[in-house]
Structure formats: structure tokens, C-alpha cells
């Protein structure tokens, strides 16, 4: 640790240019990754057995109309030109029209995305609130029963099909115990009561003072968020445990103990404080993974979010919507990775 402090202090005159260089490299690699994402979705769009021209004009149109529409859609151009215009379109924020809903894909995604965000955020909060303390307790009691329990819970989380866990949750808490709400985001009576401001129903209902809707929405949110949050709990607790084990071996922990600090202060303040930095990356990654997990969870809980939109479009072979949603999720994924990388550099001076 002392070593790296010294080098960064002596190297400070060259620091700005190195910093800029690293930033440029990061931006370049992100741009390249996004480009790769577009290439993949473009190629997927090419191999689809659905003929986009026929999909637009129907199979009764004449041959001339077919050729004309084909030219208008730019499908007679060489592949690389088609790809170039595709990239330009996406960069302008155009993802085409959905056949299923007859809206533009961008509008559709804007409408459904807040529901997914609400679910994934609550789930992550759940995962952090339980996963971090569990990981710490496991590390402190390494090898003893609390550690084994946390390890087993984590393994179960890694092995559980999330859609099945959701169904079991519904069976137990809704079907048998009758304490959870039915699938859906709010009760039927509370649909469209709250005006859509942010799309986050908890926020909107609270801002508009509709407390009945607020609590109803909360009631509906708890079970799916807990199911999804269990996945992130498994990941976060395992990573917290291994980070904590590493910290507890360090000499500063011994020093703190020798100084006479209470064990709680040593663990929760000194050691956990140092774990926070790598933990940010882990939490960001688990948030990105939850966006994926939400595809299956939303199907089970009839949650009107991006995941359900994606699966509905998939089953209807609505390729614009499928590829649009893939691009959006991929872009968020890449964005979160970038953000966690930047945060890491910002918080941890050694990472520079």
C-alpha cells in the first residue's frame, strides 16, 4: 500500500496525460463493445427466416410492389451499407416499429422500462441489505456453522431456476398462506389511478398522495423483488465473504485490535470500510445480472416490464422489438460495467 502511494505521488507530474489516456482507452473499448453488440443484433436480424418485406406488405402484394418496397427498405444494397445505415439509425435512437403494439420500439421500451427498474432496484436493495451482513458474518466465523449456512444459501441461490423459485413463492405465500399479492403490479381497481410521471409506481403514487395505491404496489412488489433479490444475495454474500477474509488477514486489523478497539468496530468499520470499494463493482454487476433475471421473473409474476415485453415479442416473432430490447439491455449492461469501472477508479486511489 505504501509503495503505490509513493509512486502515485512521484508520478503526479505525468498524471493528467496518463489519466486522459486511460479514459480514452476506456471510452474506445466501450464504443467497440457497443459496435460489436450492434453487429451481432444486425446479423441476427439478417438470419431471421421472416422476410421483412413480406412482413410489411403482406403476401398478396404484386412482384413490382415487392421490389419497390425492398428498395425503399434498402435491402438491395450491399450488406455493409445496410449495416452502416443500421448503426446510424440506432445512434439516432430509432429502433423501428413494433408489429405487435404498432408503436415505435423506443416508445414501448420507455413505457415498460420503469417497471423493470423498480423491480431490479428493490431486488438489489434486498440483496445488499441481507447479502453484505451475511457475507461479513460468514467471514468472521470462517469454517463454523454460520459460514456453512451462508455458503449453502448461496449455493442454493446459484442453483435455483428463478422462474421456479417465483412459482414456489406464489404457491406458498399467495396460494397457501394468502399473505402475498396476486401476480401483477397493482390490483385491478388501482390500475390507472395514478398518473404516470416517472413510471416508477411507488414514487408516482407517493408524490401524488395516493397512499392506497402506494401500499398496494408495495404489496405486489415484495414477493417478486425478494425472489429476484435472492439471486443477488447469493452473489453478494459470497463476494463479501471472500473480500472480508482477505481484509481480516491484513496487519491493520491486528493493529486495530491491539489498540483496544471493540471487535464490532474492527469488523464493521475498519475491515468492511475497505471492502466497500470492490463491493461497489460486485453490486453493479449483480444489478446488471438482475436485468437478465427479470426476464423470467416478470413472466412468472405478470410484471409489465421489459422482460415481459421481450418475451411477448419473441413469441410473436416481432423482430424489431426483440432486437430493440436486446440493444437496450445490452447498452445498459455495458453502461453499468463502465460506471462500476469508473466508480472503482474514483474511490480507490490504488486503481489509478
Amino acid at each position: 500500500m505504501t509503495d503505490s502511494t509513493v509512486t502515485s505521488a512521484t508520478g503526479s507530474s505525468r498524471f493528467p496525460s496518463r489519466y486522459v489516456w486511460a479514459g480514452l482507452k476506456l471510452v474506445g473499448s466501450v464504443a467497440l463493445t457497443f459496435f460489436g453488440l450492434l453487429l451481432v443484433t444486425f446479423l441476427i436480424g439478417r438470419v431471421v427466416p421472416v422476410d421483412p418485406v413480406l412482413a410489411a406488405i403482406g403476401d398478396r402484394a404484386s412482384h413490382d410492389t415487392y421490389e419497390q418496397v425492398r428498395r425503399e427498405m434498402g435491402l438491395d444494397l450491399p450488406l455493409w451499407q445496410q449495416f452502416a445505415s443500421y448503426v446510424l439509425q440506432v445512434l439516432k435512437g430509432e429502433l423501428g416499429k413494433s408489429v405487435l403494439t404498432a408503436n415505435t420500439v423506443v416508445d414501448d421500451i420507455k413505457r415498460v422500462f420503469p417497471a423493470t427498474m423498480e423491480l431490479a432496484t428493490t431486488a438489489t436493495l434486498f440483496g445488499v441489505a441481507f447479502g453484505v451482513p451475511m457475507g461479513v458474518v460468514a467471514a468472521v466465523n470462517q469454517g463454523r456453522w454460520p459460514d456453512q449456512i451462508v455458503r449453502l444459501l448461496g449455493l442454493f441461490g446459484y442453483s435455483m431456476p428463478v422462474f421456479w423459485l417465483g412459482l414456489m413463492g406464489l404457491l406458498l405465500f399467495y396460494g397457501i398462506l394468502d399473505i402475498a399479492a396476486a401476480p401483477g403490479r397493482v390490483d385491478f381497481a388501482n390500475l390507472d389511478v395514478v398518473e404516470t410521471w416517472s413510471g416508477l409506481i411507488l414514487l408516482d403514487s407517493a408524490l401524488q398522495g395516493e397512499w392506497e395505491v402506494f401500499f398496494d404496489a408495495l404489496h405486489h412488489l415484495i414477493l417478486p423483488a425478494a425472489v429476484l433479490g435472492y439471486l443477488s444475495l447469493a452473489y453478494i454474500s459470497r463476494m463479501t465473504r471472500s473480500f472480508m477474509l482477505e481484509q481480516l488477514r491484513q496487519e491493520y486489523v491486528t493493529t486495530a485490535r491491539v489498540k483496544g478497539l471493540s471487535e464490532a468496530r474492527v469488523i464493521w468499520r475498519h475491515a468492511l470500510g475497505n471492502v466497500m470499494v470492490p463491493l461497489i463493482t460486485v453490486i453493479a454487476l449483480s444489478y446488471a445480472n438482475l436485468l437478465e433475471g427479470s426476464v423470467l421473473t416478470e413472466t412468472v409474476f405478470a410484471w409489465p416490464g421489459l422482460g415481459q415485453y421481450l418475451t411477448a415479442s419473441l413469441l410473436a416473432a416481432d423482430m424489431n422489438a426483440v432486437l430493440g430490447a436486446t440493444i437496450v439491455v445490452g447498452a445498459i449492461f455495458i453502461g453499468i460495467n463502465l460506471l462500476s469501472d469508473l466508480l472503482y477508479r474514483l474511490v480507490d486511489p490504488r486503481a489509478k
Binding site: I44, G45, L155, P161, F163, L167, E292, L314, G330
Partner: protein, 298 residues
């Protein structure tokens, strides 16, 4: 027996094969000392046995419908009950093991060699080859796997082969990363330099010397990944994009049982339990293998 054990634990191996046998025996002992790993191994072996012997073990045909026998609860007549078409769920679970094993094996034998090849070539040759291959790997790593698999399957059409292809396409990048990291430490070794001085070609060194040394950490990673592969395949099946009916696939079985969840709990619960147990088995086995084969990364 004691003679065999003495031979297997000898301090001074007399031949190369003897040394290998000792090594294998000691690894096995380390593996067997962990009960959780043994449970995992047992589950995986059971999967293989059930899948192979499904026609002999299954009390009924997995697709035979009998509408007079619908929704019979688990009991003595039908161990796991019957589904909405009166099919025996136990038989369908057994045949479903075949589908799961098929997917797991196919993904392992397609994704692992690709990852291994990309990683070793990238690490051994370095320079622009490395830069280009690792960029491609990074691009694939940055994708959300399930979503990409969904997009692939939607383009190629639903079906078990396409599901395997989609999963394999998203599974190889981590293997490439691991193989590259291993190769970077191996390539500077003296024995590689010796092989090169003897005139061995780059291809020969990579295939003959580097690849075998990368294998153990790769096996660990592949085993751990199989749990994820099973879950992704089951997820695709659940969404109706994997194996198509009437083929017995566990994810699709959960999906069809879902409609009757509150009235007939077993139809969706039991196939889901099968997915969970098998994927837990691979996780337990992978954890144990990692402790034995690759202690530095645990």
C-alpha cells in the same frame, strides 16, 4: 487391496504412468474427503445413469396420454403423480434427464475447445493476434448472456439444437480468458523454450504443451458453468424456446404445469426440483474440483 494402495501411495514412482496413477489417486482422496463434493458427484452420476437407462427405468412412456388418469397426486400408483394429459411425471423426469444431459454435453464439447483454442493462441502468440482475439472475447463477455441467447433462438427458431448453439455462443469467452491467463504464465517456462529450440512449431507447442496444462483449471470452470447452462436451457424451455413438446424437457414441464399451480402443485414443482438438484450437483462438484485441482483461485 493393500498392495494396490501401497502402489498408489508410493513415494517414488517407477514409471510415468505410475506417477500419473499416484497423482490421480491423491486427487481422488482429496476430493472424496469432502462430503458435499461427493453429494455433487453422486447427483451428476445419477443424472448420467438415469439418462442412459431411462427406457428401462421409466415405468411408462413419457408421451403416452391417458385422459382418465389426469392430475393424480403423487402416491404409490404414480410416484410423482400425473400431469394434465395423464402422463406419468416420473417417466417424463427420467426422459428429461436425457435432454438435460444432451444439452450439457453438447455445450461443453463445443464451447470449451473453442475457448481453449482462442485463449491459448491469444496468450502464446501475443501481439496483434492477442489484441484482436481478446477484443472479440471482451465484446462477447460484455453481453447479457440470457438475452443474447434469447435473441439467437428467436432468429434461428425454437428447438433444442438452436438453444444449445445459442448457449455455446455465449459460453466460450470466460474459457478463453482463463486459458489465456494460464498460457501467459506457461509460455515463459524453460521447457517451452527447450521445445522451441528443438524446432517445435508454434502449433505443436500450443497443442502439445500449453493446452494440456490449461485443462485442469478449464475443467473446473466448465463444471461450475454447467449449472448456469442447465438454468439457461431450462429458462429457454420455460419460455417455450427450447425443446418443443411433446419432448419431455424440465423447463417446459414447469411452464405447462404453471397453469395448474394452485390446484395441482406437483405438476410444476417436481420438474423444477429436478432442475434445482442437478444444477446444485454440478455446483457442488465444481466447488470440490476447484479446491483440489486449482487451489489458488478458491
Amino acid at each position: 487391496m493393500t498392495q494396490l494402495r501401497a502402489w498408489l501411495t508410493a513415494d517414488t514412482p517407477v514409471s510415468r504412468n505410475h506417477a500419473r496413477a499416484i497423482q490421480a489417486y491423491l486427487s481422488w482422496r482429496a476430493l472424496a474427503s469432502n462430503p458435499l463434493t461427493m453429494i455433487g458427484l453422486l447427483i451428476v452420476v445419477a443424472l448420467v445413469v438415469f439418462a442412459t437407462l431411462a427406457p428401462m427405468l421409466a415405468p411408462q412412456s413419457p408421451v403416452a396420454q391417458d385422459l382418465t388418469q389426469r392430475f393424480i397426486a403423487p402416491g404409490t400408483q404414480y410416484l410423482f403423480g400425473t400431469d394434465e394429459f395423464g402422463r406419468d411425471i416420473l417417466s417424463r423426469i427420467l426422459y428429461g434427464a436425457r435432454v438435460t444431459l444432451y444439452i450439457v454435453v453438447l455445450v461443453a464439447v463445443t464451447a470449451a475447445p473453442v475457448g481453449l483454442l482462442v485463449g491459448t493462441v491469444s496468450g502464446y502468440f501475443g501481439g496483434w493476434v492477442d489484441a484482436a482475439l481478446m477484443r472479440i472475447t471482451d465484446i462477447f463477455l460484455a453481453f447479457p448472456r440470457l438475452i443474447l441467447a434469447l435473441a439467437f433462438v428467436s432468429a434461428l427458431g425454437p428447438g433444442i439444437e438452436n438453444a444449445v448453439l445459442a448457449i455455446a455462443l455465449t459460453a466460450w469467452p470466460p474459457y478463453a480468458r482463463i486459458a489465456r491467463a494460464e498460457t501467459l504464465t506457461i509460455r515463459t517456462s524453460d521447457f517451452i523454450a527447450a521445445a522451441r529450440l528443438q524446432g517445435a512449431s508454434g502449433f505443436r507447442i500450443v497443442v502439445g504443451h500449453v493446452v494440456p496444462l490449461c485443462s485442469s483449471s478449464l475443467i473446473v470452470r466448465v463444471t461450475l458453468d454447467m449449472a448456469g447452462v442447465i438454468l439457461t436451457a431450462a429458462g429457454l424451455g420455460f419460455l417455450g424456446l427450447g425443446a418443443q413438446p411433446p419432448l419431455a424437457e424440465w423447463g417446459a414441464m414447469v411452464s405447462s404445469g404453471r397453469r395448474y399451480l394452485l390446484d395441482y402443485w406437483w405438476v410444476a414443482t417436481i420438474p423444477g426440483l429436478a432442475i434445482f438438484v442437478v444444477s446444485l450437483g454440478f455446483n457442488l462438484l465444481g466447488d470440490g474440483l476447484r479446491d483440489v485441482l486449482d487451489p489458488k483461485s478458491s
